[in-house]
Amino acid sequence: MALNYHLQIVNLLAALLLLISFAMLSQRRVAGLVTLFAWQGAALALSTAIVAWSTGQHHLYYSAALTLGLKVIAMPWYFYRLIRKLNVNRVVEPMINIPTTMLIGIVLVIFAFNLALPISQMSGTVMRSTLGIALACVLLALLMMITRTKAIPQVIGFLAMENGLFFAATSATYGMPLVVELGVALDVLVGVFVLGIFIFQIRETFDSLDLKHMEKLKEK
């Protein structure tokens, strides 16, 4: 019956992930967003480790370690530094006000669960019920990217989306092959660095990190 406890814990962590996604949607401060992102990564790493332990899929340990190293330690640290350097930790109002965003988010979660139902019935893994949550995380992260106009929250939204995808992969098929995961992790790392450089460039060009200014680039 050991499996049952693990399942309970994984489900708890999944719920936590979803909760953090909502929290990110409602978070107005950039630094707070980074903290939430780090917590989300931690929950993800923990759940992956537990799945690895309970099912004996050893490669998942590496995935969990990778997640911990990259998304809980390296990237949040990088972001904190970036925020300090650029001095952008202010309250930013999203484009759509937060209650409306939350309502849209709830609709998305219902949609995701509905969508995941037939798929999770086909899947034979222990965590199939969490697939809906994973999908919901992806959609919520995308929603966050849409509603924020500043550069750093957009990057974090992008990374949160990747978290959701990662979680979907673990819950549906016990994770992707290690090679793929390593590749994805590397991609994300490079992506963050590139976006970091972009952020500096955007700031230099427009004197602001507000992406609204990029409208000026449009060809008339």
């Binding site: 969508l115 959609l139 990217m145 849409i146 992406l211 609204k212 000026k216 449009k218 060809e219």
Partner: protein, 671 residues
Amino acid sequence: MSVLADLDAHILDLAWAGVLYWLALGFSALLLQRWRGALVHLVFPLSALGGLFIAAVGVAGLVLPASAMVLPIGLPDLPFHLRLDALSAFFLVLLGSAAFGITVYAAGYFHSMKAGPLALVGLWYHLFLAGMATVMLADDAYAFMVAWEVMALSSYFLVTTDHDVPEIRRAGFLYLLVAHVGAVSLLLTFGVLQGGHGAYTFDYMRHSEITPFWASAAYLLALFGFGAKAGLVPLHVWLPEAHPAAPSPVSALMSGVMLKTAVYGLLRVTFDLLDLRIGWWGTLTLALGLVTALYGVIFAAVQSDMKRLLAWSSIENIGILIAAFGLTLIFYTEGKGALAALSLTAMLYHAINHAFFKSLLFIGTGSVLHATGERRMGRLGGLIRFMPWTAWLTLIGALAIAGLPPLNGFVSEWLLLQAFLLTPGLTQPYLNMVIPVAAASVALAAALAAYVMVKYFGVIFLGRPRDPALEHAREANWPERLGMLWLAAGCVALGLFPAQVIAWIAPVVRQLTGQALANDGNWLLLAPLAAERASYAPLIFLAVVLVVLLFTFIWVRRVYHGRVRHADPWDCGYPEQNARTQDSAEGFGQPIRHIFVSFMRVERETPDPFDRHPHYRGDSRDKLWLLLYKPIADLVGWLSAQAGRLQHGRIQWYLTYSFVTLIVLLVFVSR
């Protein structure tokens, strides 16, 4: 005997070696760009030899059985298949022999070009030649399309050789656009032909069976795609723009040879790859061909730019070829094998004739252009005195294209008219009624073509120079003369020995229609089907012409008055006249413009009677451009503007697009 057997096995290797030779020359031109002398005196003459070699391979290929090979190039699991059968061999002869003359000429024509652009021209020129040869050798859709695109792109770069002129860039763009619309259509043709099995070798397509509906779809797509390359109305708009823009040897290659690759493709798809042919295809094609022929020749008659005139004349000749092709299809589907063979022979004969005389005219025009720097016929005139070689050789081409015996244009047009006239009652009554009308249209087109050539030759070479500077026009240099001489000799030979040429085309006709043209005459006498109905002996005709000429000469010189009187040409008894009182290019075309004004959009600026510096400008333009192309271009522009409104420049909107797409797709998947 062993040599022949050996040739049999290696003929395709030889053909491919010829293609590689051209490719190698092209890239060596790029490497030799610092040595102008080597480019002019080495690369182009060597490449001309390649043309002769390809023609020789083609001549051998006509009598040898078909051979095929697989080349280990291309994509993985998708190698190039090559095949040389009689049809390919015939078009290789056409390519090689015309390319020989044109390339020899090019060695002279590009003589004064700067080294950098010349190296690029050398590269594209040889890629163009190699591409055309590969089109004719390709035996799978993939190799065919690759070669087709190499041909289209290299010729695009050749057309835009003088790319600093905005007009030429515009012409090049139009050419590229039509070429690619056509290529897409060809891609779809092959997609239909493979019948959903994913096998793209021609060998497979030959044996696959498709329903009549899909066969018709494939045929129509092929007609559209090859028609775009050939210049079939209404896809002809690029021709009068691209030909004047290109350097003359390139115009000659494009008009003389490249247009024939479209004819080749049409024959290949219709008579080789499709396993069934339907009667109405022929009727449609015949109608399109006739419309093209008349449309082309009418516009040729009103042009005042000499290269544009030749381009329109190419459209007319393509129309005649396509009409002959349609007639072949009609006869073939009606089960009249002998008549199908006759009209196919006429078509192939005309194809090779056109390759010779149109190339000759284009390069002759190039020499005039080089000597005078003038393309407008209104500024030329009287050049026969300053450029006798060019003038006399061009005259042979002009007489040939006008369809005068004993030159080659007459033979093919005569054969085609025979095919029309010898129709012994087709099964469909309306076809029976249409065929005489069609024959009359071909005759009209041929007659108008003669009119066009009188205008072309008369205005440029005869009369008085319309510009004093023309008196310093320099005669073409030796390579140019040699190139023209070769093509003119081809026109004469093809005209004088039709029985031999037809026997030589026979394997192609037999391959496509299952029957060859029976020549009822002997080596001297050409008599398709039956000697008592119609026959033609060019050598006897020539002998009669020469004897009459001789007698007239002797009579006038020795018996009549024997004096040589010098007077201004076309003086008609008027004492006061100058070069400006001659008939101009516009004036010559004026009757045609009056009769067919409804096809054209005429723009005229007539001078005020009190104007001290009167200026006249007349321009007859293609109405189809306004009626067909402009609306399409406007529609595309409008749609693009609408689509452009999606672009806000705000990253949130772009993300929303992805988001909505994702949601829609997810809903779609979960259904």
